[in-house]
């Protein structure tokens, strides 16, 4: 080192001895830095630097205290009609398979979130059904196809169109266009355009549950292959043979409304219709009937024939050979009532047997019901399927005579009896295309899929009843790269016009010309679009109903077990099986969820040696029509002896994550009898017990109401006529000065509700138990789906439930004491059924409020029992102390939790779009319950306030009440003397607040004096004598 003479320079400056450089050479920072020297007077010195740094740090740390930013992207250009926080409503139409409903869609910030009935349309009477309510969630189904598919691979529309056009063009043989019933004029027109291009197209329509028998019978009788439109509201006596018109038969929302109209009672309406039903499974119709006979399916013909004979005798018409029937008592009774109410009666049958339906026509004709309760001139278009055509198509397909198949929004491989042979036959077809919106059982077998929009994304029209039109308009732009089927048809027929213009054009030429009110088409169109409906007198020439010839051969009653199929209100035909709201909606009768099962009578269970436990049963091996499945057996009171029931719509294999593997597919078991599908297998059915146990999840396991008059209060019509308060129970409390009404025995003054006092009426007489309200509530209030496992733990979350009670077996009445109690738990074999919607009773003296340690639940000054979710600490004391057990606890985190994939509306980004922004999604560990839709109440009040007026009755209503097709639920302000609720309860001001003068109105559990704001109206059955 020492002798190292090398010289190192910091830089040229040092070498050149630059003075400026020398000056700072030894400094750390060679160039001038002001902070380095203290002496510097002006400019910033170190102290300033430190000050700035201090401030900087302080500022930085302060900034860090801010809450994390959630991205909310504002409108760049706000659409004219979209205001954040303000919902928009659009009239539209629910179209799914052969079903329809005229609806109003509620959208928030461009998202459809709720469906209501369209009061302006007479087609479905402003009511809805559970499936309609749930369909909004199907829109946000992540498993819908996101692109058109060609040979199993996603592709573009151009590519698909090119391929399809060339293929269809090249096909010489027959091209089958398979669909459910088509009753949309514009769709038909679009198809005509397609047929014009490809003359070899043949249309084949089928319905999951076939009506061909009736259609053929009507064709024979009236020369018109159509279903008449029914008007139950005009009927004094109704007889239904396995036609579940309150459930899934034709247009149930409308039928519920019409039927309910005949069941409403009041001080100046003391008459109601009488409903007889003869059926094998206990259906909604059966459970609402006044007289019900459980009959074997094979006996139906005989029963109808006997009824015909009874009436024919009275009318002096020729009789037929009927054969014997079991329960003739109810039948003769029915015949007499029908005859008494000639012209104001109705006989319907669910049979698909031409000759049987012929008899029914004849009966209605004898009773002169055509023109009053039955209208052939305004025929019902929603069922046009032709069994024979379908059968032939399947034959041809397998014979290789069908070169091309177009499946238009249908899934026959799954939901048709011949599904399997269709699947096999498809291989023989040269080309097949489906417009299914998902890769379902059928679509997964075709060459090309042109995925259709969801109906909420589509333009469309429909003519469900002749002369009554309803429009469908999109409420959101396509979520995926889908195109509506009609548009595809136009495209394939080489027509480039958009379907929207096509519809308009079509209406211009048809409906616009058929009316005279409007002269300007655009105004006419806008009006129709606004109303969602257009009605015009049918143009078809009126039909004269003359003599109806009957050709009925008596059939021997089947001796073996008979399998009877049914559609339940929840999953229905299975097309919406991937909708968790429907899967978790309790079957209105069995109260079971997430399964189908074999409903068997208690006797059969005993014969099989099946003794079910608490929601535990055994699997049975069911063999029918050459098919056999293993399926859980469920004891069903009211099941006809020697019959078993099985629900359609389950057992999807390509339905989606939610639907797949839930239950068993029953469609393949449907058999044909002389060319017609039979909804019952009457021979060769065997049921064997396996030793495999299985758990069926039910939301209600105790089936009788144990004669508790403080829960269910009922009477017969005759009793009611004598005394309007018949069936009422008036509990009294013994005090030191004699007996007192519970309301008068209290430590407290109670509170007055100065402004509003919200209340609800539940008319148990017109509630048919259809369950539309429960799904509506689920959609409105962001109620989570918890899945089968949690329902088995008795943890379903529904805020609104419909309790279904059976009358207990007669044996109980003879007994006493403990034995009586035990027997009272056993329902009768053919029980009377009571439906009782249960939601939070909004007690004015709420026991739940008292016990909450943190006052998370308390009472509003409008009588609503309110929950502050974010104050709740989850002690569950309130739920324990709720005598009605309507409170629901968040046992787990149901949202954003992989543990609950079924809960699609909270666990995937698309599903979340259905959530109602006005309602909190509840956190884990908090209690929740019915809030009387407080968000709707507040919104309605604000709207009124903006216009400087008081809310008008009817503009504020709860989700359940608005969904109810039979108007059994009435919500309103008891402080408003003109409100429906005030009128129905006949409220009067008494010394202690409002007094209810309506004799039928009662509070449940009156004796504990919790003062509910929900009033039940007694159940009145139209019977002579009250027997269980």
């Amino acid at each position: 080192m020492k002798n190292n003479k090398k010289q190192y320079w910091k830089g040229l400056e040092e070498l050149t001895k630059n003075p400026e450089f020398e000056k700072y050479a030894d400094k750390e920072f060679a160039e001038y830095l002001p902070i380095n020297d203290e002496s510097e007077g002006e400019g910033t010195n170190r102290r300033d630097f430190l000050k700035m740094m201090g401030f900087g740090i302080a500022a930085a740390s302060l900034a860090a205290c801010e809450a994390p930013v959630r991205k909310a992207i504002p409108y760049l250009n706000k659409p004219v009609d979209v205001d954040p926080g303000v919902p928009n409503y659009y009239a539209s139409t629910y179209l799914n398979g052969s079903d329809f409903c005229s609806i109003v869609v509620k959208t928030r910030e461009g998202r459809p979130i709720k469906i209501e009935g369209n009061k302006l349309s007479s087609l479905s009477g402003g009511g809805t059904s559970a499936q309609v309510q749930a369909s909004v969630l199907s829109l946000y189904d992540k498993e819908r196809l996101e692109d058109p598919v060609l040979d199993g691979k996603a592709t573009t529309w151009d590519a698909l169109d090119k391929a399809v056009i060339s293929k269809l063009g090249s096909l010489s043989g027959k091209i089958a266009l398979v669909s459910n019933s088509i009753y949309s004029p514009s769709t038909a027109a679009a198809l005509d355009a397609l047929k014009a291009k490809y003359s070899n197209i043949e249309e084949i329509a089928y319905d999951q549950v076939s009506f061909s028998g009736m259609l053929n019978a009507n064709e024979k009788a009236f020369g018109k292959r159509a279903i008449p439109s029914y008007d139950f509201s005009k009927a004094k006596t109704i007889v239904s043979f396995d036609a579940d018109f309150l459930g899934e038969w034709l247009n149930s929302p409308l039928f519920n409304k019409q039927f309910a109209k005949t069941r409403k009672l009041g001080p100046n309406k003391k008459e109601m219709s009488r409903l007889y039903s003869f059926e094998s499974n206990l259906s909604l119709t059966g459970s609402n009937s006044d007289y019900r006979s459980a009959i074997k399916a094979s006996q139906q013909g005989a029963y109808i024939a006997n009824l015909y004979n009874d009436l024919a005798k009275k009318a002096g018409a020729p009789t037929v050979s009927a054969g014997k029937v079991g329960d003739s008592a109810n039948l003769t009774k029915a015949a007499n009532d029908l005859w008494k109410s000639k012209g104001q009666s109705l006989v319907v049958s669910g049979s698909n047997d031409e000759s049987v339906q012929g008899l029914v026509n004849a009966i209605n004709n004898l009773l002169g019901n055509y023109g009053s309760t039955l209208d052939l001139n305004a025929a019902n278009n929603t069922r046009k399927g032709d069994d024979s055509k379908m059968v032939n198509f399947v034959k041809d397909l397998n014979a290789g005579n069908v070169s091309g198949v177009i499946f238009f929004n249908c899934n026959p491989v799954y939901d048709h009896a011949l599904g399997k042979s269709i699947a096999d036959g498809l291989k023989k077809a040269k080309f097949s295309v489906s417009t299914s919106s998902r890769k379902d059982e059928t679509a997964s077998l075709v060459n090309a899929i042109a995925p259709d929009n969801h109906f909420l994304e589509s333009w469309n029209d429909a003519e469900p009843t002749e002369g009554k039109f309803t429009l469908t308009q999109p409420t959101i732009s396509n979520l995926f790269n889908t195109r509506q089927a009609q548009q595809s048809f136009l495209a394939w027929s080489g027509d480039q016009t958009s379907y929207f213009d096509f519809i308009k054009e079509n209406w211009k030429n048809t409906n616009f010309t058929n009316q005279t009110k409007e002269t300007n088409f655009d105004k006419f169109w806008d009006q129709c679009l606004h109303d969602g409906a257009f009605e015009v007198a049918s143009s078809a020439e009126a039909i004269e109903v003359g003599e109806i010839a009957v050709d009925y051969k008596a059939r021997a009653a089947g001796s073996g077990i008979e399998l009877v199929f049914y559609k339940n209100n929840s999953v229905g035909d299975g097309s919406q099986a991937n909708n968790p709201w429907l899967q978790e909606m309790p079957d209105p009768i069995t109260k079971a969820v997430w399964d189908n099962y074999l409903t068997i009578s208690r006797k059969m269970a005993a014969d099989l040696g099946l003794t079910p436990g608490d929601m535990t049963t055994k699997l049975v091996k069911l063999t029918a029509n050459g098919q056999s499945i293993t399926i859980p057996a469920l004891i069903q009171p009211g099941q006809a002896q020697g019959t078993v029931g099985l629900a359609l719509g389950y057992g999807r294999s390509n339905g989606g994550k939610v639907a797949n593997g839930v239950g068993q597919n029953a469609y393949p078991m449907i058999s044909y009898k002389n060319g017609f599908q039979e909804m019952a297998v009457t021979s060769g059915v065997t049921v064997e017990l396996t030793d495999e146990t299985y758990r069926v999840a039910q939301t209600q396991t105790h089936e009788t109401y144990m004669d508790r008059s403080n829960v269910v209060q009922e009477a017969t019509l005759s009793e009611y006529k004598k005394d309007a308060s018949a069936g009422r129970a008036f509990p009294m409390i013994s005090t030191y000065h004699g007996k007192e009404k519970p309301g008068n025995v209290s430590l407290w003054e109670g509170h007055k509700y100065p402004n509003h006092h919200w209340g609800m009426i539940v008319d148990m007489n017109s509630c048919t138990g259809c369950g539309a309200c429960t799904v509506s509530c689920q959609a409105e209030n962001n109620v989570p789906v918890v899945g089968k496992a949690e329902v088995l733990n008795r943890r379903e979350m529904t805020w609104l439930r419909i309790d279904r009670y059976y009358s207990h077996t007669e044996e109980a009445d003879e007994l006493s004491g403990l034995d009586k109690l035990k027997k009272m738990e056993v329902p009768a074999d053919n029980p009377e059924v009571t439906f009782q919607p249960m939601m939070c009773q909004q007690c004015n003296n709420a026991p739940c409020e008292t016990v909450c340690p943190v006052a998370a639940t308390n009472h509003s000054t409008e009588g609503i029992n309110q929950m502050a979710y974010n104050r709740c600490i989850g002690t569950r004391y309130c739920a324990n102390n709720c005598p009605y057990k309507v409170r629901r606890f968040n046992w787990f985190k149901y949202h954003d939790n992989r543990q609950f994939p079924e809960n699609t509306s909270m666990n995937n980004d698309l599903g979340k779009m259905v959530l109602n922004p006005d309602v909190t999604v509840r956190a884990r560990g908090v209690m929740e319950k019915c809030s009387f839709c407080v968000q709707r109440v507040q919104y309605g009040k604000l709207e009124a306030k903006k216009e400087g007026r008081r809310p008008v009755d009817g503009e504020i209503t709860s989700a359940c009440a608005s969904a109810c097709p039979s108007e059994a639920l009435v919500f309103g302000d008891m402080k408003d003397p003109n409100s429906r609720i005030s009128k129905m309860l006949r409220l009067e001001d008494g010394e202690n607040g409002l007094e209810v003068k309506e004799e039928r109105a009662y509070n449940m559990l009156e004796e504990i004096n919790v003062k509910p704001n929900v009033w039940y109206l007694t159940k009145i059955r139209n019977k002579e004598e009250s027997n269980a």
Binding site: T704, N793, C872
Partner: protein, 455 residues
């Protein structure tokens, strides 16, 4: 001055001198832990660990880990709560009430009994916290704390809030009572201490006690007044716990007989648990001369009395139910005895009403083994009593559609084990490091009662 009750038998046998007492009791603290103690400790710690896993699951996933449902919102959680609180009654009761009655036989057992009380109450307090859906908030939201929301206060109508006050008051007062008693004994250990650590620790624990007569006389006043305060407190705690049920509207809960019946039950189970533990401690620490058969017999007599009171209460409930003429009420009780949970009711009856009656026989009530067995049976029975009251009343109340069964899950059992793990861990630590018998008090009676007084 206080009147001496005539002493029939010596309360301390084996001719112990005052010095022997110091040796015997302090010796346990000073000597190295015994093998048996190590084993017991290991067992209770493993219980704690197993239970801890389920507590974690409960806190992490939610209350759904338990078997509760929409109809039965409380089951094992509150059953355990009430059960532990009940057990937690004996200690303070023994020291307070027996002190007021000048029952000197308490002196040998009150220390351990109070310790048991403290730990039992902690176990009890665990459950109201754990059973909350959101314990991380509920733990302090249930207190009337001022907060940024200004007007956000608790609901003083809620019996659950009364519990918060009752339990915390009872716990802290018992703790103070217990600790005051410990101070002079800590001083003894301090003055015998050989190691600096022990000197420091027990020095701090003994609060600088010097045994001056002035302090002693104040000490006695404090003990007396505390006893006077603690006595109504003991009775109030279970009364208020019973309000959780008595003030509700649920048939089977809504019962005015609950307060006395719960208190009796509490003393019943409390004494049983004291016996269980003392019989073990007595054996392990060879304290036969201090905890004599007479002590055991006297406690067994208390068990007969309270057990019979409870039995009468059960029958009265049925009478009142039938007499009331209230349908739901009547059904609730019939369902208890003959419904799906009849087995729970049956075991409650056998354990609580029948088994203690055996103590009418002197041979049984003076027999260590039989006493031990029955004391355990009694506590099983008392657990079932609470289970019966809570679950059978809830699972079938007013609306038949909601009737449901309750099936426990692993976490129900796990969390219960956790409380046991804690209880025994705490108790064994106490037994090792604290004087298990109140030396000062026993010393004060030794001259009067021990056989050989001349030294």
């Amino acid at each position: 001055m206080h009147a001496e009750s005539v002493v029939r038998q010596p309360l301390v046998t084996g001719g112990k001198t005052v010095h022997d007492i110091t040796n015997d009791i302090c010796g346990r603290v000073e000597e190295k832990p015994a093998k048996s103690w190590m084993l017991a400790m290991a067992l209770s710690l493993s219980l704690l660990a197993i239970g801890g896993y389920y507590v974690y699951r409960l806190l992490w996933h939610g209350i759904g880990e338990w078997g509760l449902n929409k109809t039965v919102g409380w089951a094992w959680d509150i059953t355990n709560f009430v059960w532990w609180v009940g057990i937690g009654h004996a200690g303070t009761l023994i020291s307070a009430i027996l002190l007021l009655f000048r029952q000197r036989w308490r002196m040998a057992i009150n220390r351990a009994a109070e310790a048991m009380t403290i730990f039992a109450v902690i176990c009890a307090a665990m459950f109201p916290i754990l059973h909350m859906g959101r314990p991380w908030l509920g733990a302090y939201w249930a207190l009337p704390l001022p907060n940024t929301f200004g007007s956000l206060w608790v609901n003083f109508n809620s019996p659950l809030l009364w519990d918060v006050f009752a339990i915390s008051t009872y716990f802290s007062v018992s703790l103070v009572f217990w600790y005051i008693g410990l101070i002079p004994d800590f001083a003894s250990i301090r003055d015998r201490a050989t190691t600096t650590v022990r000197k420091a620790v027990y020095g701090a624990l003994s609060f600088g006690w010097d045994g001056a007569s002035k302090t002693w006389s104040r000490y006695e006043t404090v003990a007396l007044v505390l006893a006077g305060l603690a006595t109504p407190l003991v009775l109030s705690v279970h009364t208020i716990v019973s309000f959780d049920f008595a003030t509700s509207v649920i048939p089977g809960w809504h019962t005015t007989i609950f307060p006395p019946y719960f208190v009796a039950g509490a003393i019943f189970s409390g004494f049983a648990m004291v016996l269980t533990l003392l019989l073990v401690t007595r054996k392990v620490y060879k304290l036969e001369d201090y905890i004599t058969v007479q002590h055991i017999e006297l406690m067994n007599i208390v068990i007969i009395v309270t057990g019979s009171i409870v039995g009468v209460a059960y029958i009265t409930e049925f009478f009142i139910a039938s007499y009331s003429g209230v349908e739901a009420e009547q059904y609730a009780f019939i369902n208890r005895a003959f419904g799906p949970y009849w087995w729970a009711y049956a075991s409650m009856m056998t354990c609580n009403v029948i088994s203690p009656q055996l103590f009418w026989f002197k041979s049984i009530r003076t027999n260590i083994a039989s006493t031990f067995v029955i004391s355990i049976i009694v506590n099983i029975g008392m657990w079932f009593e609470r289970f019966v009251i809570i679950v059978t009343s809830l699972h079938r109340d007013y609306i038949p559609s909601s009737w449901a069964m309750f099936y426990p899950k692993a976490a129900d059992i796990g969390v219960y084990l956790f409380s046991f793990g804690f209880f025994f861990t705490a108790f064994f630590l106490f037994a090792k490091f604290f004087p298990v018998i109140n030396m000062a008090e026993v010393k004060s009676i030794v001259k009067a009662t021990s056989e050989k007084t001349d030294k």
